[in-house]
Symmetry: C2
Subunit: 346 residues, 2 copies
């Protein structure tokens, strides 16, 4: 039986406790300073995480951050960082203060970072900052936490440059309903997590840009099909530009996640609004007021990359008409206008 420590009692980290504990492993779920109420609830018998539906198994113990000790981490077979981007500093700090022995750390956190001259992912940025982290594992693929916790069939992908580490963690976590593949492409997994939100805005915009009143949902099909295919293609190219493998975009973390992200959610709703001719400010100030739209964050980061420059002179793969249209709309506040005549370079 393995010992797992999950740092952060957000919904994703907590959901991961379900398959782990079901496999008989021991899980220590450590709340951040912002998770005090959650931890208090989970420490009560029958306590249920506010965003989940059922209590956790007895193999899972929830503790407050200030109860975490060095030996907890020292005994762990794996550490999971179950925080979103704002929580990375806290995780880094806890690990650096309390890790006394090397241990792999798996991150649910996704993000593209534009600090410095190049865009990077946590796969590149974190290892130098956490010396005792023996391996960085990216937990990727489309995963609504509550669905996983409710044991709905979920496929995920674990990425580690040392594939044996990813395999070992996958074997610990895998159940009949939680199916895991592995890859060495940690950078690509993280890049796709950000890119699919961004491209979902554009595919969704194409769903409403050319309405078909004869259909129940008013959405025509040809423009959507073209946009989805173009999005996959550009996502693969950008994934490579960011240091990942294009094949990653053609799998679960890319096209699989893009398919469901287009189906509904904040990025999709922003796109639907843009497709009807509205500006980004209009949509963000009305139905999406107060909500974070991750694809917009990704757009800001991509804007720092020279996307009009081909990788090499005459390289037709350096052309991103859909990404350009999305960025013009969400960053330049222009109407969403994909130059369709520029699609498909032959």
């Amino acid at each position: 039986m393995a010992k797992i420590v999950v740092l952060g009692a957000g919904v994703m980290g907590t959901a991961l406790c379900v398959p782990a504990s079901e496999n008989g492993h021991t899980v220590l779920l450590v709340g951040t300073p912002l998770d005090q109420n959650i931890v208090a609830t989970l420490r009560q018998p029958g306590g249920v995480h506010p965003k989940l539906d059922d209590p956790l198994s007895a193999n899972v113990e929830a503790i407050s951050f200030d109860a975490l000790r060095s030996d907890h981490l020292g005994n762990a077979d794996f550490i999971v960082a179950g925080v979103s981007s704002p929580g990375i500093e806290w995780v880094t700090d806890m690990l650096n203060r309390l890790m006394a022995a090397p241990c792999p750390v798996a991150f649910v956190t996704k993000g593209l970072d534009a600090r410095g001259a190049t865009v990077s992912t946590y796969a590149q940025a974190l290892p130098p900052r956490i010396p005792m982290m023996s391996a960085f594992v990216a937990i990727g693929g489309p995963c609504i936490a509550r669905e996983l916790a409710n044991r709905l069939p979920t496929a995920s992908i674990y990425a580690c440059r040392d594939i044996s580490v990813a395999e070992r963690f996958a074997k610990i976590m895998e159940t009949d309903y939680y199916r895991l593949s592995v890859t060495t492409d940690d950078t690509g997994i993280e890049a796709c997590a950000a890119l699919k939100n961004f491209f979902a805005i554009g595919v969704s915009a194409m769903q409403t840009r050319y309405p078909d009143p004869r259909r129940a949902n008013s959405q025509s099909k040809n423009p959507t099909a073209a946009a989805f295919t173009q999005a996959t293609l550009e996502m693969a190219r950008l994934c490579e530009r960011l240091g990942g493998q294009s094949a990653t975009a053609f799998g679960l973390a890319g096209l699989g996640d893009l398919h469901v992200t287009v189906g509904g959610g904040r990025n999709s709703r922003l796109g639907h609004g843009l497709g009807t001719g509205r500006t980004v400010l209009d949509v963000l100030s009305r139905e999406l007021l107060g909500e974070t739209v991750e694809g917009v964050d990704t757009a800001r980061v991509l804007a720092t990359m020279p996307l009009d420059e081909p990788l090499t002179k005459g390289d037709a793969t350096g052309y991103f008409p859909l990404a350009s249209a999305i960025m013009d709309a969400v960053l330049e506040h222009k109407p969403f206008a994909l130059d369709f005549s520029s699609l498909v370079v032959r």
Copy 2:
């Protein structure tokens, strides 16, 4: 200016007259014996095809099959076969009777054929049957004919083993709203056209199999994302088994078409019914009464292939859990039951 002859005045062949004539080419639209009323309508000033919204341009002349002469075909730069599978015999007959000089023929027709020992597509079956056909071109990719005729942005893919022929035809047909890529993989294009209908049944079944009552459309996301990715993977493997290239499945004709086919239509509706535990006979005898569900036809053909046998011993790529689940449901009348624990072979 080119001269194009379109055989068959169905909605797809007729829709192709729009970009062709817009580019200044002359189009002769030849009705089959079943198209007499359509031809009569189109020969009237302002006549509109019953399934389209606007009259065709003056460059398009509609004639009845019995007015087609050898020299019409002899003067043509391209011939288009705008029929569905039942019309292939008529097209073959007309071409063999009236072609006096070699000419390329482009087919909108898609189909997998299980006659004989192997499954084949029209790309393999037709060239030997039409000696004067100098090249076979498959017109592929998701294309709702009426949307193309209405100039909605549409991306298609033209396939020919002689890529220069595909390029030439694409140049003739391409407009600002009709963007064309080319490939040599005529077999793959045809295979994907059939396979995406089949796999859409399974992805759609996963949309309703694990409902999430908290969502507006009651559909959970994780199972759908997993199924869409698995469908793309299996479609690529099957495409190769059928003699095509897996890359074709990862493009417009595969994932692009699958994405919109899952979004709605008869295959999708059959899948939704199967996902709720109903049998195929129940769905086909109620809401789909009298309608052809092409994915079921594809299932019948796939059933003749030995899908449980790997290509080579120990070849994990020979495993098709999603295809098997779909075939069990639509051919064996079993409940739809994807063995999720078998997904992701590592």
